[in-house]
Symmetry: C2
Subunit: 261 residues, 2 copies
């Protein structure tokens, strides 16, 4: 049995046999992030460095470096003499079902929206009309909402809606309700499905100010095109979500064998 | 019909009636990112600022600012007199099915792996043995691979495997094959499913160096626990993936009405 000191013959990535500290710290940070996200530390405090080192098979120096990485991510706060506090559990958003934010987070707290824009744009940009399959030059409804969970900013959502779908929403309670929910209520029909694309980006200064995070912090930019049950696209939006408070989750199946090419 | 100059009564987010330029630039950047990712510009060049402004309903100043944001994300390169080139199309990785990277990207190019670590760790950390449901103090196999697509770095993957599953892999072609594929070949069984959690983080200096991106650039950190068809967890890993070359995609369905609480 090869042991930790003997890398594969011909592939000596770490001449000394032991990976450099930065790599070990990254590995320990990964494990801790996974544990924090999955609720291993329900009381919001991490064990001390010695105990963490034992559980994670790492020296105190490596643990300290891993904690610094997670502190940079905004996941934890370290205070001398007090210990390491988890800033906030990350809210998991499942990718199996199409849900609005307030629906998803109903168990975590109350979502409120600061409606920063809610208006009819008489001539929507061509890129928008094409995506919503509207005639060239058609109007569309534009919404921008700063969404908070229990009063703390979570995301900035920019939403374009087909005019017949969006217009009735302008008189509804956009500050407290999900757009999905309102669309279903005003049309009397369930939504069908959405194409979702998830990007990781960094916050430019304006978004950072709105979301109360440092400029340059990691963000999700989630692009979502939502269709009615008949397949008509009616809602094209980009959600910018704080990555220190939010993770995406999915249960993925292997399925049948893919054809070999 | 309310028009663009009349925000909702009582909610005048933009006193002048027009949103500030940073917001408009963000909105235009979102649309462009979506278009680039979905292959609207197959020849790899963006139209000039005037044409983009027309398609996106924005002034040239706003278009210029949006292009600067996408340039910071590493998506495009601007050259005076030549125009705006898409650095590389983003590779979409579907979240509907559990697949290895080489399987997913088979249409885009050839995935190769620099195997930086491939060894048996005699006493795996407690956090790892618990996750893989191994006895306390058990060994495990650790792999670290720098994965490239057509010779350019795409991700750093750190993988812990149950010892009976991982040991046979140490003699296989880890430089050219997916771990999923190798597990199925050596065990003779298909994998079942995986719990996937997706984080957005920024690259610390060591990861940045490996992936050849600036420190502080956005990354995906994807945590994945993969099980055999009988539900036994055998593979716990974290993938750090360059966000300028990669996006996650899913088709999400609305499904039945959720119970109200």
């Amino acid at each position: 049995m090869r042991d930790e000191q003997s890398p594969r013959p011909g592939r000596p990535p770490h001449p000394g046999g032991t990976p450099p500290r930065a790599e070990r710290a990254r590995r320990v940070a990964d494990t801790l992030r996974q544990q924090i996200t999955s609720g291993v530390y329900p009381h919001g405090m991490l064990p001390d460095e010695r105990e963490l080192g034992h559980a994670l098979g790492a020296t105190r120096n490596v643990v300290r470096e891993a904690l610094a990485l997670l502190s940079d991510e905004g996941l934890i706060i370290r205070r001398r003499g007090i210990g390491t506090r988890i800033v906030t559990a990350k809210y998991g958003h499942g990718l199996e079902r199409l849900t609005g934010l307030a629906e998803t987070l109903v168990d975590y707290g109350t979502v409120t929206n600061e409606v920063r824009a809610a208006r009819i744009v008489p001539h929507a940009p061509k890129a928008v009309t094409e995506r919503l399959r509207l005639p060239d030059g058609s109007g569309a409804v534009y919404l921008e909402r700063l969404r908070s969970l229990d009063g703390r900013p979570l995301s900035v959502d920019s939403t374009w809606l087909a005019p017949d779908i969006g217009r009735p929403l302008l008189d509804r309670d956009l500050a407290h309700r999900d757009v999905f929910d309102l669309i279903e209520e005003t049309t009397g029909h369930r939504l069908g499905s959405a194409e979702v694309t998830v990007h990781a980006v960094t916050a430019e200064p304006d978004t950072a100010r709105l979301l109360e995070i440092p400029a340059g912090a990691a963000l999700f930019a989630i692009d979502r095109l939502t269709c009615l049950a008949d397949g008509r696209p009616v809602d094209a939006e980009t959600l910018r979500v704080r990555a220190d408070r939010f993770a995406l989750q999915a249960l993925v199946h292997r399925g049948p064998v893919a054809p070999r090419t």
